[in-house]
Amino acid sequence: MSGLLEEYAKVAGQDVVFQLQQLANHLKGKKVVHVNSTRVGGGVAEILEKLVPLSNELGLDTSWEVISGADDFYHCTKAMHNALQGYSAPIAQNLLDAYEQTNRDNAEKLRPQLEDADFVFIHDPQPAPLLKLCPERRGAWVWRCHIDASRPYRPVWRYLRKHVSDYDASIFSLPNFSQDLPHPQYIIPPSIDPLSDKNIDLPEEDVEKVKKEFGIDPNRPMILQVSRFDRFKDPVGVIESYRLSRKFNPDLQLVLAGGSASDDPEGEAVLEEVRTAAGDDPDIKVLLLPPDAHKTINALQRAADIVIQKSVKEGFGLTVTEGLWKGKPVIGGNTGGIILQVISYHTGFLVNTPQGAALRIRYLLRRRNLMQEMGIKAKEFVRENYLLTRQLREYLTLMVSLQHKAEYRIELI
């Protein structure tokens, strides 16, 4: 077994890697191309960074291509992203023109490789028009939508649908994200990479160092929410929950850690609201971390007693997965993919209000043994369901199914 596979076998289990090898035996040498629009930053790039080498170690011939464009292209795709998430705003024609032109330009460069591939995975709306620009394609093309498209802004979806309806299949993260499309829609939840800086085991001294760096008292309980400063993540609601809990747990500390908001005008405003709500409470730390602060986030999650993700709207909620993987009970908003991960009384608690979150914080802090039990269960739950190896297995299964074009059952004997 190769080095990388061995590393994953240590974390996910030998049997899991054995199964990947078995499935991959039926796809040996197949040319697979993943296309997205960024090499670094964001969940898609994080996953592809490991998924691609791992696929290659299993004997597939996998590559990862990135399309690029000018500002108008990114403005357009940002607007598309928002529209798929339900934000009602039309996109100007000049931006759509830039979107199509950028795809035409990139197709010139990528066409031979894409047309020759056995499988092409197009991630998100940015490169979606490439399919129509590769008329001589011979393989199966799959559109992988990572966005919560459960209630898209219809005019934008209608436009995008023209570009994605000819694909052989699409993949959505949750069943309710799927749309009316004329091809099979596979449901593959996202995953975390247990070997990435954000999730790898850390020595205790690294955790202690981060506590010290941010002035977190190691002898008092700490609750943490990691997320962008976004109203849908309800950071102000988390502060309210903390204050309600403090009446019963005066030692409690709260850390709200998020990425830089420089590219998001609304993020700046929300950050200000959060700072105002935090006031001069020395036990609330509002941390604005750089995008590459993965190890810091990892250490903060490990330092926390309880992880909070009190979103009022959420896609899948990978920060929940990360928290569970660190063996922490998670108090999560009763929405989106959080519902799949937070199982009340088992891996944490689902809540609907700041009051609900406060109640569960109090409850857990009074039951340390239960917290520990939940933490153990939470980690195993992620190991079974939400590691990169599971996602790769489903990609391999999908490729086998597309190869055989069967409806319900394929026997590779």
């Binding site: 049997d15 035996n25 799949l340 739950f381 299964t397 199914s401 319900y408």
Partner: protein
């Protein structure tokens, strides 16, 4: 009876499988909608909502043994119906059509006896899914029951699903592949077969089932087997 394993010369070929979930586009917000979709979906969707969760992403300690019961209880707040649906045993039915009929009858009865059930509406729909199963040969073979405790701990959860769960759909009388194979050896392994038959595959993870099957084999075949 199809075992997908011809057991020729008492050879048990270990297979493995992987499942992928596919959206059907059908969604139900009310009990009547749920009922009508259950009537119309492909049998594989019924299969998925009873068994698919075991191989797909999901929580092993679920309160109910099928998604229909779970949704009625949690989302429709139909406690009575949730309980009634939770005792449906898919193994006790000769096929998925038969299973479908029983579910429909239970729902119809509830709709007839409780007027309020007609008006309940969930904010979270029941999403009808189906699954596609890819089955492959692992190349592993055993010829003696005594080899079972040796090989079982090494099996993937996919193998356990295929031979212990999926087999109940393929074989008659809720048989599994292990028991069918043991039958070929005559009376000698009846006791082992009987013990395997009483393992309840619901409310457990596949890893836990693997452990339970291994322990039963060790107990009945003697620790000396390994």
């Amino acid at each position: 009876m199809s075992s997908n394993n011809n057991f020729k010369d008492h050879i048990f070929s270990v297979k493995d499988c992987a499942l992928i979930t596919i959206a059907t586009g059908r969604r139900a917000f009310t009990l009547t909608e749920l009922r009508n979709h259950i009537r119309d979906v492909s049998p594989d969707s019924i299969y998925h909502h009873f068994w698919g969760g075991m191989l797909g992403a999901g929580f092993e300690e679920s309160e109910y043994n099928n998604d229909f019961a779970d949704w009625c209880r949690r989302n429709l707040n139909e406690i009575t119906l949730g309980e009634q649906l939770s005792v449906v045993d898919p193994v006790a039915h000769k096929d998925l059509e038969d299973l479908r009929q029983e579910i429909l009858e239970i729902i119809d009865e509830r709709l007839a006896e409780s007027e309020i059930s007609l008006f309940l509406r969930s904010t979270r729909p029941f999403e009808f899914l189906r699954s596609l199963l890819v089955i492959f040969d692992t190349g592993k073979k055993i010829t003696r029951p005594e080899d079972l405790p040796l090989i079982l701990p090494e099996l993937t959860t996919g193998s356990i699903f295929y031979h212990f769960i999926d087999s109940r759909r393929r074989l008659e009388h809720g048989f599994d592949d292990f028991r069918l194979w043991l039958e070929g050896f005559g009376e000698d392994y009846m006791q082992l077969s009987g013990s395997l038959a009483v393992i309840d595959p619901f409310f457990s993870s596949l890893r836990h089932i693997r452990q339970e099957v291994t322990e039963v084999c060790l107990e009945k075949l003697g620790r000396g087997a390994i």
